[in-house]
Amino acid sequence: MRSSLESKLKSIWKSIRSRYYWVGLGHELLYDLFNTPEMSWGQRMWAYRRGFLVYRMTEYGLNEKNYSQYLSDTAYYNLHPINGHFSFWIDDKLTMKYVLHPFDNYLPRYYYHLGNGEQVTKLMDCPTDYGENLDAVLALLRQKGRLAAKLISGSRGQGFFKLTYHEGQYLLNDELLTLTELKAFLNRKESYLLTEWLSSNHELSRIWSGAASSVRIVVYRNKADQVRIAGAYVKFGTSVTGPVDNIAAGGISASVDIDSGSFADARIFRNNAMIPVKAHPDSGAVIAGTLPFWAEIRTILNAIGNYLPHFKYMGYDIVIGEDGFFIVEINSLPAIDILNCYSPLLADPEVAEFFNRLHQS
């Protein structure tokens, strides 16, 4: 009884200390309050008392019998930072590039860092004949045709832009803009990275070619310290998502079979629920197939897990190209709602044991 009270108090104290808990959960809670008018106060109280946002009731199909198979929102946010002090190794895309140097073949090329106004800094993959100013950045864009501009520690598609140079014209997220406007855009106050633009494999681009169609793979470390995949899904963009493929922005997910790498069971987030779709709403292509390089992806994720033995939990975003694959981002607290929709995370005893261990530590 005493130890249970003690652990509850510890958990509350941890929540109070965690800025991420309040910012992350507060953001979700605001969405929850203003976008679920159909839910009654009784339903709200039922969900909040069990640590869930109320729209999870429709998203997961929560009820009294099955809710214990799902990891609650408060419990999940309370775990941050799961990887402790070292979370910044993966949360910050530039640090990730340096840290994963032995796996550089699986990372996109990084050309420039922009920030603090006119400050332009060349990064490791920038060709040597380019300078450190905006004119050099524009020259590189003209040479490469397309570049990606990313917020150094952005997630959920925030701060992601596609820069294009085509037949003498500059485009930002496929919209025309003048040279002066582009220069004004590149004069960033926040830290941005300019990296190579990655095009997806034809197996995925046949479904939707407007975004990268990245694969989200969530890995954890089991009791025997082995790297395991908790779940994986492919994210497809749509006409409303622009250059990103995030589900919250209107993208489509398709569940990946961990053993074979085949994907199917596409769903789209509408009216606070994941609605099944058979074909892509814009291209009409059937959303099913097999991920190229799946066995190699699993091998590399395992190798990275062994290389970073103190990392317990990571959510990889991987873009699969024609000749290989690239890790574009690693999240230290990836969203788990999509995985939960396909299969309740805690229904897998090994995953349940992992989260239970985290709560106790």
């Binding site: 640090t95 106004g117 332009v120 917020l151 701060g159 926040e190």
Partner: protein, 375 residues
């Protein structure tokens, strides 16, 4: 103002506030404890950004004070690396970030993670046959003979242990202990790493054989300009400094000529003064000679500065071995007092410009004021 921009500004204000607090704390201590200067001298020094102790240390006067980097500028220099200083602030992050230069980093074997129960992680250089328990670490110690145990984010020799095993006998920092003592020491450590212990080059060991002797190389890099090696010091451990060679711990130091790698003019810090120390306090050997691999060291340090272009001000701690050299630590706020003493840092216009531009950028200003820092 976007959320990221607001965060960035808050972080910058916070950092400036902490640096200001530390600076004012030093000024207050100087005001209370320095008996060697008058009130007028103190006020004169403070108005120019110096502690009054520097009047005696540097021989400051109205004509020459602009040639020296002030204490205020040195404090501001602490924030020039911004958030990216995290890459070098702890030794484990540095090891991973500088993987491209792994040949010049020591072997990292184990990490003793934080948490109530000790969790041991094998690091990339740990031989495959060793497991993840105390027994495995002891077996590795028996096999290697010496291991260095370091606090992840320790500096100035804090949290450093030298573990040795010779013919079945165990030592911690050269003191004989039994096996159980070493095991219980390891069991009680958190946020530590276990690395290879580096033995110095014979040229340097002939001066001081039983302590670590490291070279401190300081560099500054601004966007669009090549890195500049601002200064270098050869540091020797002595009986007073224990297992480390830090100047603050009582080690002796010699100035290194950046062009030739020759070191001489030994000094030791006593209170706030640099006392002449032409020979090693314990061995009596003259503190002079030539650094092996100096050209290699310079080119590697320059390559690292180019590889990490977002870091402006770096202080490399390097141990020269018989077969090369290894970088054991990089400091983002390396002390400059001795360099300022030997070669005033603002004497050369180029050097002054680089420092002042870096400080102005970190303070959120785009232009630099060449009028010197004032309190």
């Amino acid at each position: 103002m976007s959320r990221n921009s607001l965060n960035m500004n808050l972080r910058r204000w916070g950092s400036n506030l902490i640096n200001s607090y530390r600076f004012w704390q030093e000024i207050y201590q100087d005001f209370r404890s320095n008996q060697q200067t008058t009130l007028c001298q103190k006020l004169w020094a403070y108005r120019r950004g110096f502690r009054s102790a520097k009047i005696i240390m540097y021989g400051l006067n109205e004509q020459n004070y602009r040639q020296y980097m002030s204490d205020l500028d040195f404090h501001r220099l602490g924030s020039v690396n911004g958030r990216h200083r995290r890459w070098i602030d702890d030794k484990l992050t540095m090891k991973y970030v500088l993987h491209a230069f792994n040949d010049h980093l020591p072997g990292y074997y184990y990490m003793l993670d934080q948490g109530q129960n000790l969790k041991i992680h094998r690091l990339p250089d740990c031989p495959g046959e060793y497991g993840t328990d105390i027994e495995a670490i002891m077996a590795l110690l028996e096999s290697k003979g010496n291991l260095a145990v370091k606090l992840l984010a320790g500096s100035q020799g804090v949290g450093f242990y030298k573990l040795s095993c010779q013919e079945g006998r165990f030592f911690v920092n050269e003191e004989p202990v039994d096996r159980k003592y070493v095991e219980s020491l390891l069991l009680g450590l958190r946020d530590y790493i276990i690395t290879e212990f580096l033995t110095g080059h014979p040229t340097l060991s002939s001066i001081c054989a039983y302590r670590a002797n490291s070279v401190r190389v300081m560099t500054i890099k601004q966007p669009g300009t090549p890195p500049l090696i601002v200064g270098a010091l050869m540091r020797f451990g002595c009986a007073q400094s224990g297992s480390v060679d830090n100047i603050s711990a009582g080690g002796a130091v010699s100035l290194v000529d950046i062009d030739t790698g020759r070191f001489d003019d030994g000094r030791q810090l006593v209170g706030d003064e640099w006392k002449e120390c032409s020979s090693h306090p314990d061995t009596g050997q003259p503190l002079e000679g030539e650094l092996p691999f100096w050209e290699d060291i310079k080119s590697t340090v320059t390559a690292i500065c180019n590889y990490l272009p977002l870091l402006t001000w770096l202080g490399f701690d390097i141990i020269i071995l018989e077969q090369g050299f290894k970088i054991i630590e990089i400091n983002s706020q390396a002390g400059i007092a001795l360099h300022n003493y030997y070669h005033p840092l603002y004497k050369e216009r180029d050097c002054e410009r680089l420092f002042k531009q870096a400080i102005a950028r970190s303070q959120g200003r785009t232009r630099f004021d060449s009028g010197g820092g004032r309190v």
